[in-house]
């Protein structure tokens, strides 16, 4: 790093024809007009560099961000006010808010909204509670602690598609499925996981829980390790049991992290797509024979790419966005209240 100054001093005024000898002469006689000009040029270039380089640095990001992030985001809103067919996506016919009104009249929309909510709750709540407990255990001094950490994180490396294909087989309806076989050992009859109403939702949630518990546990663990040790020491001096320490020291210190994981999990739950798609027989976008586990993400996919109504798909997308904004506001209110109480 020390080579920067010396290097640049020779590199900056690199106006070709001047030789090293002239440059040396210029350094001794500052009145030399050529040197004067060079210095002016150098400082001009320097000023230009300082002024414009920030824009050059952010340009590649914003170029792609505008083209493939912001523009599509806004254009979805525009498309939601049109009738757009999948086969001819450039023919747009203005229909105003009709896509939205038809959405609100569609029972399958409300069904998908309800399913997204229930699957979201069944998958997020146990997942985060288990992650919290798991992090607490991992925070003890352990032999092979790195092994445990890597092991519980491996489901995170498994893709939605691969995980769901395996779970479909394990949740297979007849008694040769792994789960039903296990239930049979304790005397419970085989469950038709895919076709049941809440059983299918439970199975889909199980995939989500399996993939994300370890990841969230590591996030909690990181936050736990940042809690100052003396908080525990003084709690122990006051005679707090381990459970009381967990409740009154660990959990309050983790509050921002817990809120953060709640928000991230909620956003993930709102867009749940791959698990219910592949859990359905033949990867149909209906989310089961009776739409019993069709989420909003699946409903959007079905409307757009099976019923070929891209305009209606856009309307669903914007409705999802609205829900996320509501969640964001709720989160803001809750975190403000927590801060005020603290």
């Amino acid at each position: 790093m020390t080579d920067i100054p010396s290097d640049t001093r020779t590199a900056a005024p690199s106006a070709g024809e001047e030789g090293a000898a002239r440059r040396a002469r210029a350094a001794v006689s500052p009145a030399d007009p050529a040197a004067e000009r060079r210095r002016a040029r150098r400082s001009r270039r320097y000023r230009r560099d300082v002024r414009w380089s920030p824009y050059v640095l952010i340009a590649p990001f914003f170029l792609f961000f505008l083209a493939f992030g912001l523009f599509p985001l806004l254009y979805t809103g525009w498309a939601s006010l049109h009738r757009v067919e999948l086969g001819t996506p450039t023919d747009m016919e203005w229909v105003g808010l009709r896509n939205f009104s038809r959405l609100l009249d569609d029972d399958f929309f409300w069904n998908a909204l309800r399913n997204t909510f229930t699957i979201g709750v069944i998958s997020t709540v146990p997942q985060l509670l288990m992650a919290l407990g798991l992090a607490h255990l991992l925070n003890y001094r352990l032999r092979g602690s790195m092994f445990f950490r890597v092991a519980i994180l491996t489901p995170y490396a498994t893709s939605v598609a691969a995980a769901t294909l395996v779970f479909v087989l394990m949740f297979s309806r007849t008694d040769h499925g792994m789960i039903n076989w296990g239930l049979g050992l304790v005397g419970i009859d085989a469950v038709d996981w895919q076709n049941g109403d809440w059983t299918a939702q439970f199975a889909v949630s199980a995939i989500v829980i399996w993939r994300w518990t370890g990841y969230n546990a590591l996030i909690y663990l990181a936050a736990m390790q940042a809690i100052p040790k003396d908080l525990y020491e003084s709690a122990a001096l006051d005679g707090a049991s381990r459970w009381q320490q967990f409740r009154h020291v660990t959990v309050p210190s983790l509050r921002p992290t817990i809120l953060f994981t709640c928000v991230v999990s909620t956003i993930g739950a709102t867009q749940l797509f791959g698990e219910p798609l592949l859990f359905s027989q033949g990867a149909s976008p209906t989310g089961g024979s009776d739409h019993q586990f069709q989420t909003l993400g699946l409903y959007l996919y079905e409307q757009g790419w099976f019923n070929q109504h891209l305009g209606r798909a856009s309307a669903i997308a914007w409705t999802m966005f609205l829900i996320l904004v509501l969640i964001g506001l709720l989160n803001w209110v809750i975190s403000r209240r927590i801060r005020r109480n603290a």
């Binding site: 560099d49 640095l57 254009y75 407990g133 040790k229």
Partner: protein
Amino acid sequence: MASLKKRGAGRQLRGGRLTYAVLILFTVGSLFPLVWTAIAASRNNTRLAQTPPPFWFGGNLFKNLEIAWTDANMGTALINTLVVAGSITVGTVLFSTLAGFAFAKLRFRFRGLLLLLVIGTMMVPPQLSVVPLFMMVAEFGWTDQLQSVVLPTLVSAFGVFFMRQYLIEALPTELIEAARVDGASSFRVIWHIVFPAARPAMAVLGMLTFVMAWNDFFWPIIALTQGGEPTVQVALAGLGRGQIPDQSVIMAGALLGTLPLLIAFVLFGKQIVGGIMQGAVKG
């Protein structure tokens, strides 16, 4: 993590027997579905339809892998995914570092506004832009070509925010100013000061991005087809549609698509765990 331990933060009570028991239970729960994927992939369809389910390996693994490799297009899919995830990782890490540095240390007009725009769209789900993206891809004639997946995912708002948060603390402003006083150009400052300082965060972002890009599902199954230029996830979705009815072959496909990341986890597990935990504290 090491620095945290030195500061004496975190509790260091020794774990009891019950602690180990519960942790082993979770370890088994985490690993069992993966191990069972391999077991199922080594059997055949008839055996998988019998009770009780198999708990040990059979002799069909290589045959099934071969069928999945050719009939389910998994060979092409693996190469394509390597290209796609590799390009996305390089693009995201490079562009996020440059923009993150600008947002962390440089002054320019509209900086606050632009940063707000980045943060505001960080959590926007992919569903929200999928219809226009589909129209664009159709318009440009990119359907079933890899750039239709690479280009829309090449930059990430999260990446910019992540690098900015890291560089605010990790990069001493005085160092940049000193180099500036000595007449260093922006290019030199970035090459000799920013990149070395950002390296740990770049590695973390790179790992997270690669895993995410490898496992991306929603947009690829819309933009690509299984018979054309699939990624691993597109090929697996094809298997889910019942393209090959043999369950043991489906499991072989799932195994093939997961194996590269699992190997990376065995090799770099420690670094990946450290990266996720570091990211958690910074974010």
